[in-house]
């Protein structure tokens, strides 16, 4: 299955765009990428979810891991573009406030 995400590393920020469905079948490969991102201790990570159609709890877990890992190394995470079903899930989990959605 093609990976539903794309990473761009710039000196000042890392951009992660996730699209399609982030779920129990696709989250494991994103989780590896997330470990790699956290290991670089990026000062700023921007997660673009405007292409994301569907998320399940495994997908949310992967994003929480990214969030905690980057914050734990004193970086910041901005989650942008969440819409439709993914936005509904973040709201249901009351993560929309923490994530500033």
């Amino acid at each position: 299955m093609p990976t539903p995400f794309e990473v761009q590393r710039h000196p000042t920020e890392t951009r992660l765009a996730v699209r399609g469905s982030l779920d129990i079948n696709t989250a494991p490969s994103l989780a590896e990428e997330i470990d790699a991102i956290i290991a670089t201790r990026p000062p700023k990570v921007i997660v673009d979810l405007s292409g994301l159609d569907l998320i399940d709890s495994s997908g949310v877990a992967a994003l929480v891991k990214l969030y905690k890992g980057v914050r734990g190394a004193n970086g910041t995470v901005a989650i942008t573009g969440a819409r439709d079903q993914p936005l509904a899930i973040f709201k249901l989990l009351r993560m929309d406030k923490v994530f500033n959605l």
Binding site: G20, S21, D23, I24, N25, D53, L54, D56, S57, S58, V60, A61, V64, K65, Y67, K68, R71, D84, Q85, A88, I89, L92, L93, R94, M95, K97, V98
Partner: protein, 169 residues
């Protein structure tokens, strides 16, 4: 081999798939199309793919809940061994969708699941244990009877608004 629906008023769609994550997409497609039968009031683009149907709040709720229940059966009940099937009985009416999900995996006690904390801040963001909470909150009714077979019963009603739209169309 017998007609299951016959002359009952509300036809039921039945799907049996192996209880592994590989077959999840098939089950989600069927549930998505069944949602469409209930919520088809909503104007839809004819080439709007199923994955985009989750713009509809009814479909969003049902698919979100169902994905979690399916994941849990494959992972927890069948312990990722694929040692059995998942049976779905999906009944779409004009006003609601009822999904019965049966598996022959390990039963558990739904009441033992710890709820999510009420207040979330950065440090308490959960990395697991969200599935049951998502499913329960998204649905109007969610029951579980340990088996065999274990039986989940998921029910979602159209909101009053949506139901009115459906009757008009």
């Amino acid at each position: 081999m017998r007609a299951i629906v016959g002359n009952t008023m509300v036809p039921t769609i039945r799907l049996t798939v192996p209880g592994t994550l590989r077959y999840r997409a098939i089950a989600v497609r069927v549930v998505g199309e069944a949602c469409r039968l209930v919520s088809s009031s909503t104007q839809r683009d004819p080439d709007d793919p199923v994955v985009h149907d989750v713009r509809d709040p009814f479909d969003t709720a049902v698919i979100s809940a169902f994905m979690e229940i399916f994941n849990n059966i494959a992972i927890h009940a069948y312990k990722r061994t694929g040692g059995g099937v998942i049976d779905l009985a999906i009944t779409p009416t004009e006003r609601e969708l009822v999904i019965e999900v049966r598996d022959h995996g390990h039963p558990f006690d739904l009441d033992d699941v710890t709820p999510l904390p009420n207040e979330l801040d950065e440090d308490s963001l959960p990395e697991g244990g969200m599935g049951i909470h998502i499913a329960k909150t998204m649905l109007d009714e969610m029951t579980y009877e340990p088996g065999p077979p274990n039986l989940w019963r998921l029910r979602k009603r159209l909101s009053a608004n949506q139901a009115a739209g459906a009757r008009r169309s």
